[in-house]
């Protein structure tokens, strides 16, 4: 049996009669990096806000670390760290003072964790600089350091790479991976940047108009992203005939530019190329292709991504 860090059962949240969350059943396993995908207004932040106790559900239940009920949930929230809709900082305080205020708030003994966190996110050299003078990337990193105070078991990060420069994105990705791998922290990340999410997530949840459409592992996603062989030959019609007659497959599509997408025979590319060669065809392009997360997501919500 899997151990779940978060489970929601029929979780519903209405805003003036509109369902921001519609009977959401989400499950996040311990140790997962859960990529949470959805358009603006799909319900990602509402779900995170509901789980962290900032918003109250109008229906359904939340189970955190196996605990449910108002009192138990409040207690369980001591084991989570979060950064919701951007970093929440005291602008007039330095990075160390921001962490100190949060350390006191959480009742974490010993000041040494402040320096440790600053080092962990690369802000140890910021000295007397106030948070209001930080770049967006520095603010994001400080927000993450605050979320990491108290060594949480579950991190909820809403758009953590927003505003980061390319180096910052890579650093954040590596940091999240390390936290997950070395400390076993379960992480939920909502992000607009699906290509980035694709590099870290072990599980995915797709939410659309308040409904959780699908949850799947990275392996399941890979299998579901329909792969195909892209073939470009000098005579597309003859190539199609070869595929049909010699390989006995009709599972292909001839595109407008003459290229062919072959959805079967993925395991035997040698056999396909040999058949085409033996028919005297000149092969200009022959490569395995697949959908990425973005294409899959777009297809799943039935339209343009707009994430």
């Amino acid at each position: 049996m899997h151990e779940y860090v978060l489970r929601t059962n029929q979780l519903t949240k209405d805003f003036k009669g509109q369902a921001a969350l519609n009977k959401v059943n989400m499950e996040i396993r311990k140790g997962a990096i859960y990529g949470f995908i959805g358009q603006n207004g799909a319900g990602k932040s509402t779900l995170i806000r509901t789980v962290t106790g900032l918003a109250f559900p109008t229906g359904g239940t939340i189970e955190l670390f196996g605990e449910s009920g108002e009192q138990a949930l409040t207690e369980a929230r001591k084991r989570i760290g979060s950064m919701i809709e951007g970093p929440a900082l005291f602008p007039h305080m330095t990075a160390a003072e921001n962490l100190e205020a949060n350390r006191l708030l959480r009742g974490i003994p010993g000041k040494e964790c402040v320096a440790r966190m600053l080092k962990q996110v690369g802000l140890e050299g910021t000295g007397r600089k106030k948070a209001r003078n930080f770049s967006l990337g520095m603010k994001q990193r400080l927000g993450l350091a605050i979320a990491l105070l108290g060594d949480p078991e579950f991190l909820l990060l809403d758009e953590p790479i927003n505003g980061l420069d390319p180096t910052g994105v890579v650093e954040m990705r590596e940091l999240l991976r390390r936290l997950n791998r070395e400390l076993g922290i379960t992480i939920l990340i909502s992000s607009h940047i699906l290509s980035e999410l694709h590099l870290v997530a072990s599980h995915y949840g797709i939410i659309h108009r308040g409904r959780l459409l699908e949850q799947l592992t990275a392996g399941e996603l890979l299998a579901k992203c329909q792969h195909y062989l892209l073939i470009k030959a000098d005579h597309p019609e003859r190539a199609a005939a070869v595929l049909q007659n010699k390989l006995g497959t009709a599972d292909f599509e001839v595109m407008q530019d003459g290229s062919i997408k072959l959805f079967s025979c993925m395991e035997e590319p040698g056999k396909v190329s040999a058949a085409l060669f033996s028919a005297g065809l000149v092969i200009e392009k022959f490569m395995p292709m697949g959908e990425d997360l973005e294409s899959y997501y777009t297809k799943r919500i039935g339209g343009h991504p707009h994430v």
Binding site: R49, T52, G53, L54, A55, F56, T74, E75, A76, R77, K78, R79, I80, S82, I84, E85, G86, P87, A88, L89, F90, P91, H92, M93, E97, E100, A101, N102, L104, L105, R106, G107, I146
Partner: protein, 253 residues
């Protein structure tokens, strides 16, 4: 709860608005007696003594208390909503009532500190300039500690009201404006309505708005004491309970 109060004290210590308020009051409480001193000197009028200044300004200190509460409510409590910090606070695994109570305690402490600046600094300066003089006949030697104690009590009561408004309004500008208007106009409104409706006049007589100006009275009848102490305590308790209820139901954006 102890850690929450420590966190709030840390934040108050780092709050620029709090120190600006204290500094401004400090400067004003230095400037006003000084101007008054030179004015009297140039006109050949007798100088005000420390005792006279204390009695006069303890009564009108209620305005300073209200002003301080309004400013602090806006810039100590509400800025945590606008900066998003309240999200971290509310999701920290502490119950809402504990969070509100810790905030209220420290906010009240800040308001109390501000309320003492005028009577203490001003009186000390006037005493240095013209001597302390004598307390009015009939007033006990305990007048000063009593008046200062009541100043603190009424500051806490106004602070509890301020915290409740801050939780309801959440926006700094709105909170400062609404509180200033509410504190300044409430008295006038109550008096005006009291001339027409008897019960309103009675309510006003037993409100912190009316009683707060009686803090500096040289003599307080023993029969007046229960109201003078109980009214701010009840106001504080009621405002705190309403504030907690509001904060418990409040969704943090």
């Amino acid at each position: 709860m102890y850690n929450l109060i420590r966190a709030e004290l840390f934040k108050l210590r780092k709050n620029g608005a709090f120190w600006t308020l204290l500094s401004t009051l400090f400067l004003l409480s230095l400037a006003y007696p000084l101007l008054n001193y030179f004015d009297h000197k140039s006109n050949g009028e007798p100088q005000m003594t420390g005792a006279e200044f204390f009695i006069t300004f303890t009564a009108s200190n209620a305005h300073v208390i209200k002003f301080g509460v309004a400013i602090l409510a806006g810039f100590f409590i509400c800025t945590e909503y606008s900066s998003g910090v309240m999200k971290t606070i509310a999701s920290s695994g502490n119950t809402r009532w504990r969070l509100f109570t810790a905030k209220l305690i420290v906010f009240a402490a800040g308001a109390m500190a501000a309320s003492l600046v005028f009577p203490v600094v001003g009186t000390a300066e006037v005493t240095l300039l013209s001597g302390f003089g004598h307390l009015p006949e009939g007033s006990a030697a305990s007048l000063i500690p009593r008046a200062l104690g009541l100043t603190l009590l009424y500051s806490a009561a106004f602070a509890a009201m301020g915290a409740m408004f801050a939780v309801l309004l959440t926006d700094s500008d709105k909170t400062v404006s609404v509180l200033l208007v509410f504190f300044m106009l409430m008295d006038t409104l109550w008096i005006a309505l009291g001339t027409k409706i008897a019960i309103v006049a009675d309510l006003h007589d037993y409100s912190i708005f009316k009683l707060s100006v009686e803090i500096g009275k040289p003599v307080i009848d023993s029969g007046d004491w229960p109201a003078l102490v109980l009214v701010p305590l009840l106001t504080m308790a009621l405002s705190a309970v309403l504030g907690i209820l509001a904060f418990r139901r409040k969704e943090i954006k």
